[in-house]
């Protein structure tokens, strides 16, 4: 009965999040997190094993999608600059936040390291939406930012997978299975798609899900995390998605309709508003840690390639985060590395980092920001009644 009640409440909240997303022009993920917070703090909903598993799987699917969204051609085109900017964009906040948590806050090493991972991220999706809106996706600055974001994402995925591994035989098995799947899947797809593709039963999507579930299983045995192989697998099949747009679209439909909502809802449900309120000082410090380390790290290399205004725009966009930050935080909570207060504060910092730097970048540093003052030239406003006004147009 309780499972049915939680499933029903989650289903209704997920529907409401979609509707609110369309009405408000905001990402559905952000609203799912917000409604998750309401569910956990006001409605008293709590997670269950099935919801935990769905959320974990959704996190891996999101990572796979992030890898598949990497534009390999663009990466090659901007390799040197993106490695420099994207690499520092990962390293500076990772070490900055880690050392801050360990030596200033006195947190244990694993919690400090994982905070570094969660705050090192850059959200490609947040960046991409801004670049589309500012018409910069095909501009050199936009291309550089996207390529650098791929590098930062890779750093985050690698750190999350490698930091907490324990040297066991299962680790060898995990590495071997991951390598086999990553090597076999791309060349296998042509035969598989020809023989089994284009059917309503979706063997292509099931194939990808099966590969990700195998990765999760072996990661669990090795007491590691499957984000790195999932990201690399996505990267290696990105050209497949490029060639099969409809398959990519159906994969997204399944992921967005049934999986990712549970991930973000669960993220929100585990945030305690009471603990966030009690730790507002910590929240401010961690938010500042991310933003300052990104600024100090990313701006100097950016200015080598871009104008000061574009370099600041780049720095601010590289300071955003959402999905990988939430994945890292949920991993920390599940593995007992974070307590609920730490998790609540870090997820809040991650969400704030999606909004605040984006707003500042678009409002004050957009390369195409128009003058906001009224035009100096004389103008008039004339209101007339159209002859068609009464007939419904």
């Amino acid at each position: 009965m309780e499972n049915a009640y939680i499933a029903m409440a989650a289903g209704i909240l997920i529907l409401l999040a979609s509707m609110a997303s369309v009405e408000m022009g905001l990402s559905v993920a952000l609203i799912e997190i917000a409604l998750g917070v309401v569910a956990g703090n006001v409605l008293g909903l709590h997670t269950t094993p099935w919801l935990d598993f769905l959320a974990s799987f959704a996190g891996i699917v999101l990572t796979f999608l992030a890898g598949a969204e990497v534009d390999v051609t663009l990466m090659r085109e901007k390799l040197k600059e993106s490695l420099l900017i994207g690499g520092i964009s990962f390293v500076a906040p990772f070490f900055g936040a880690w050392l801050f948590c360990q030596y200033v806050l006195g947190w244990p090493v694993p919690a400090s390291q994982l905070t570094g991972v969660a705050l090192s991220t850059t959200s490609l999706a947040v960046v991409y939406a801004v670049l589309v809106e500012t018409g910069l996706t095909a501009h050199p600055t936009g291309k550089l930012i996207m390529a650098a974001t791929f590098v930062t994402d890779f750093g985050t995925a690698a750190a999350l997978s490698l930091l907490f591994i324990r040297p066991t035989w299962w680790l060898l098995a995990f590495v071997a299975v991951s390598a086999a799947i990553i090597v076999i899947m791309p060349p296998l797809h042509r035969w598989f798609f020809t023989r089994y593709g284009q059917r309503v039963i979706e063997p292509e999507i099931k194939g990808a899900f099966a590969a990700l579930l195998v990765l999760m299983f072996f990661a669990e045995l090795a007491q590691s995390h499957a984000v790195l192989p999932a990201f690399i697998l996505g990267l290696t099949v990105s050209h497949v998605f490029e060639q099969h747009r409809e398959t990519q679209r159906r994969f997204r439909v399944v992921a967005f309709a049934f999986l990712t909502p549970f991930f973000f809802l669960k993220g929100g449900m585990n945030v305690s508003l009471r603990l966030v309120w009690a730790n507002l000082g910590l929240l401010a410090m961690l938010f500042a840690a991310k933003q300052v380390t990104k600024l100090v790290g990313v701006y100097p290399p950016s200015i080598r390639y871009l104008s000061p205004r574009d370099a600041m725009f780049t720095t601010l966009l590289m300071s955003t985060g959402l999905t990988f930050g939430t994945i890292s935080s949920l991993y920390g909570l599940r593995a007992g590395i974070f307590d609920q207060a730490q998790f609540s504060v870090i997820v809040t910092v991650v969400v704030l980092s999606a909004i605040v730097p984006t707003f500042i970048a678009q409002r004050w540093f957009s390369p195409r920001e128009p003058e906001r003052t009224a035009a100096a030239r004389r103008r008039s406003v004339l209101v007339v009644d159209s002859p068609e006004a009464g007939d419904g147009g």
Binding site: G25, A125, A129, G135, Q248, R252, A375, R379, G393
Partner: protein
């Protein structure tokens, strides 16, 4: 008097009236006629690029159909219509395009699409009439 006319066109009833007014003015003054449509509801702060791309593809399909019908409507009345679709904030994008294009008149509907932020922050029409770099005709 009006060499270049720009109609803000989002497919709403108000913008369709504005388009018809623009077509009639174009015929009367021999003006070049343009419409601009803005994809303003791309999801902000998205979690996946796919969410943005799918929304973008949906809007592109919607505006492709919309602008084709607008061109057909103008052509039926003997007017050549140039249509432009851009992503971005509606007011900011239209004002920038009007300024960069050197338009003499902007024609806008009195009531168009506004999402919840638009309703809170003030209507698109109000903001366009305040910020436009040229004369503005508001069609009721």
């Amino acid at each position: 008097m009006f060499g270049k006319i720009l109609v803000a066109f989002d497919g709403s009833e108000g913008s369709r009236r504005a388009l018809q007014a623009g077509i009639e003015l174009s015929k009367r003054f021999g003006s070049d006629l343009y419409t601009i449509s803005v994809m303003e509801h791309l999801p902000h702060y998205a979690a996946t690029v796919g969410e943005v791309k799918e929304a973008q593809a949906g809007f592109e399909a919607f505006f492709r159909d919309l602008t084709k019908r607008a061109r057909d409507q103008a052509a039926l009345q003997g007017v050549t219509l140039e249509t432009v679709v851009k992503p971005g904030h509606e007011v900011e994008t239209i004002v920038t395009y009007a300024r960069e294009g050197g338009f003499d008149l902007m024609v806008i509907g009195f009531v168009g699409h506004s999402n919840i932020w638009g309703r809170i922050m003030g209507s698109t029409t109000q903001n366009l009439s305040r910020l436009a770099p040229c004369n503005v005709l508001i069609v009721k």
